[in-house]
């Protein structure tokens, strides 16, 4: 069992830095709507009128095509690991946006293909199939675009929940990476065939700028920044510690880790360069605040990857990308804090529990697990609670398997002034959904509930 506690000085330092920051999610969403309007205006100003069936089909096809191209750029941007998104909006939220946008883009693409072929076929008086053949085989860049589109459809299909769960994670991940290639292939036909782009230098330039910027960001934040991070910090496994049956902590050493920019509550995407593990990159939260030469993650063995961690040899090289995650101390306003953790969600909460600024009596932690044995890092939590004069509570299933109720009444009974608390919530979806509802009913405003879901 490891114990890692920061000094009081560290805590005081953290306190001084508290600056409540709101998530930039709303302005970003508004900005993307504005972008969509700008893109549609390309069509608006290029089209004098729309008359006849063919023109309606072509018009709808062009609009859906323009939107699809735009949304696809956003889809890539969302996964570019841009810090403003990952750390300020939150990796989990961005991942949800990405899933939504991806599905939307795919629908737009399919609509675009069908409408344009139908429109051209109607206009030219040929059959749908003949028109498809002509377009794919003779129009510029259409062969590449077809390959790219088919790839996107396949990626979309395998990303659907049902299929995704059946695939080994690594396979799914590497297939999903083909999206970059597919976007590259489909980009060119937009400029060489798109009615709004042919002959219009301004529109073409704007499109190049859009895709160029997104590509540059992706290359920078997904390739170059991690490269620099790993070369600077050179992380290796220091030790692997059994915390409890099925729960291990991995201690990772490196250079100047206090400069890695990680805050309590954040996570990294880890790649351990050991046989069997090196092909997968998995997100695990820091279970203790970062120290100058040590990081710690605590993992419950639930799958192939996490089980393999128990066998890591000291000295194994570690490739990390991050820090990511928005569930940090900076999210909260001054005041009291309630932390609710369930299952693996305890890891970031444990780190926050240690360093979140607060006076005695201000902090409460409620840990929900199935059984007492599943309460990982319990010893440390007790020690921190004593030191900081914080309340530590746990809720496990009853002997008959009955789940403890997390309801507004019980929460209010626990903390009568719960509506003045900030709440940090981290755990499996079932728990967080229930807790969220209960908190909402208990009068905690939305902006005070800070949450990170682990279904990345």
């Amino acid at each position: 069992m490891t114990t890692l506690l920061n000094s009081r000085a560290g805590r005081r330092l953290a306190l001084r830095q508290i600056r409540p920051r709101r998530s930039p999610a709303v302005p970003l969403v508004l900005l993307s709507w504005a972008g969509a309007a700008a893109v549609l205006s390309l069509w608006w100003f290029n089209t004098p009128n729309v008359t006849g069936n063919a023109a309606w089909l072509n018009g709808a096809g062009r609009l859906s095509g323009l939107l699809a191209g735009y949304v696809l750029a956003l889809v890539v941007l969302q996964m570019a690991r841009v810090p403003a998104l990952e750390r300020r909006v939150g990796s989990d939220r961005v991942a949800r946006w990405h899933a939504m946008s991806g599905r939307y883009a795919l629908c737009l693409i399919l609509a675009h293909v069908g409408l344009i072929i139908a429109g051209y076929a109607t206009q030219g008086g040929v059959s749908f199939v003949a028109q498809t053949e002509t377009m794919v085989l003779t129009f510029p860049d259409m062969l590449e675009a077809t390959v790219g589109t088919v790839t996107l459809v396949v990626i979309g299909l395998i990303s659907a929940g049902m299929v995704r769960r059946r695939l080994p994670y690594e396979l799914w991940y590497y297939l999903h990476l083909l999206t970059y290639a597919a976007v590259f292939l489909t980009f060119w036909h937009q400029l060489s065939n798109g009615a709004e782009f042919v002959g219009d230098m301004t529109a073409q330039t704007a499109w190049y700028v859009l895709y160029g910027a997104v590509s540059a960001l992706a290359i920078w934040y997904r390739l170059l920044v991690p490269l620099r991070l790993n070369m600077r910090h050179r992380m290796r496994v220091e030790a692997v510690v059994q915390e409890a049956p099925g729960i291990v902590s991995v201690l990772i050493k490196g250079r100047k880790l206090h400069r890695i920019g990680a805050e309590a509550g954040q996570f990294f995407r880890w790649r351990f360069l050991a046989p069997g593990l090196r092909w997968g990159s998995h997100p695990y939260s820091l279970s203790a605040p970062p120290r100058p030469n040590l990081l710690r993650i605590t993992v419950k063995a639930v799958g192939g990857h996490s089980t393999g961690l128990a066998d890591l040899k000291p000295g194994t090289r570690v490739w990390a990308e991050g820090p990511y995650g928005a569930m940090t101390a900076s999210r909260r306003s001054q005041g009291k804090v309630l932390m609710i953790a369930g299952g693996a969600g305890i890891t970031p909460i444990r780190a926050l529990f240690e360093t979140l600024p607060g006076k005695g009596g201000d902090l409460t932690l409620l840990y929900r697990a199935r059984t007492i044995e599943d309460l990982a890092l319990w010893g440390e939590l007790k020690q921190i609670a004593t030191e900081r004069d914080a309340r530590l509570l746990y809720a496990v299933n009853g002997p008959d398997g009955a789940r403890p109720e997390i309801s507004a009444e019980r929460l209010r009974a626990l903390l009568p002034d719960i509506d003045e608390h900030d709440v940090y919530l981290c755990g499996p979806p079932g728990l967080t959904d229930h807790a969220y509802e209960a908190l909402h009913d208990a009068g905690v405003p939305d902006r005070r509930i800070h949450h990170e879901s682990f279904e990345l």
Partner: protein
């Protein structure tokens, strides 16, 4: 053979015209804005240009048994021993073949070099440049239907391939411009699809390409003819710096979107 028909002098600098039969076709020269002081130099340049054309014929004619091209084909001569012009032209043929994805070829079916698709335009371009640099203010050289002009303004008519003696369009040139037309109309179906060895199924009646270099315009016109109607249109639209006017076998016309830049009214009253 080399008689220069001179127009009687007036106050303005008068045009020089000349017609030369060479390479199995006819080259027409039209030189204007030649000041009296430049006249001897321009006349000498015209002489030189005509001699140049005959030299090109000697080197490149596939009908001549002893031309360098024919000897190259029979492997009596290696490329390194050919005159620099032959190497230049064959290099150009290769470049254009590459840039047109093989649709322009300078080879017979058997692989022997046949640069005839390019030589005429290249010779015209060279001659026109020579004359322009010799001091002629406006130069128009028409080699068997492929035109290179300097100065101007020049009005270049585009012949209707299906109706002899008729024009379909007029290209107005200000400055250096080339107008090359390819098609099966006059010499028979001599443009073949290099992939099948036969004329293209949806063949065009004529393709006119307008650009600054006649050599390139000539090559593109030939390539477009070989492609056939369906492929030629998007391909022509895509070529940077070149515009095209196309006549289909049915008689309809089509032009690239930038062609309006050059086209002028057919009738001027």
């Amino acid at each position: 053979m080399t008689s220069y028909d001179e127009v009687p002098s007036y106050d303005e600098p008068e045009p020089l015209r000349h017609v030369e039969h060479v390479m199995g076709t006819v080259f027409s020269f039209d030189l204007r804005e030649v000041h009296d002081a430049d006249r001897p130099r321009v006349l000498a340049a015209l002489d030189g240009a005509v001699v140049g054309l005959h030299r090109v014929d000697e080197l490149f004619s596939t009908y001549r048994h002893d031309s360098q091209i024919s000897r190259l084909a029979r492997e009596e001569l290696t490329l390194s021993r050919c005159e620099p012009e032959v190497r230049d032209v064959l290099e150009l043929c290769e470049e254009f073949s590459y840039r047109s994805d093989g649709w322009f070829t300078a080879l017979y079916a058997g692989g022997r070099p046949d640069p005839t698709g390019l030589v005429k335009g290249w010779a015209v371009e060279r001659a026109a440049r020579m004359l322009a640099s010799a001091g002629a203010g406006s130069v128009c050289v028409n080699g068997g239907g492929d035109v290179q002009v300097h100065g101007g303004p020049w009005r270049v008519g585009i012949a209707d391939p299906l109706r002899r003696g008729e024009l379909l369009a007029v290209v107005e040139a200000h400055g250096e411009l080339a107008v090359a037309t390819s098609g099966p109309a006059e010499r028979g179906c001599h443009i073949l699809d290099p992939h099948t060895g036969r004329p293209p199924a949806d063949g065009l009646a004529s393709v006119t390409v307008v650009g600054t270099s006649l050599t390139e315009a000539d090559a593109w016109a030939t390539a477009a003819c070989a492609m056939g109607a369906e492929r030629a249109r998007p391909w022509l639209q895509r070529q940077p710096g070149a515009e095209a006017f196309v006549v289909t076998a049915e008689g309809t016309t089509w032009q690239t979107s930038g062609f309006t830049r050059y086209s002028a009214e057919l009738c001027v009253s």
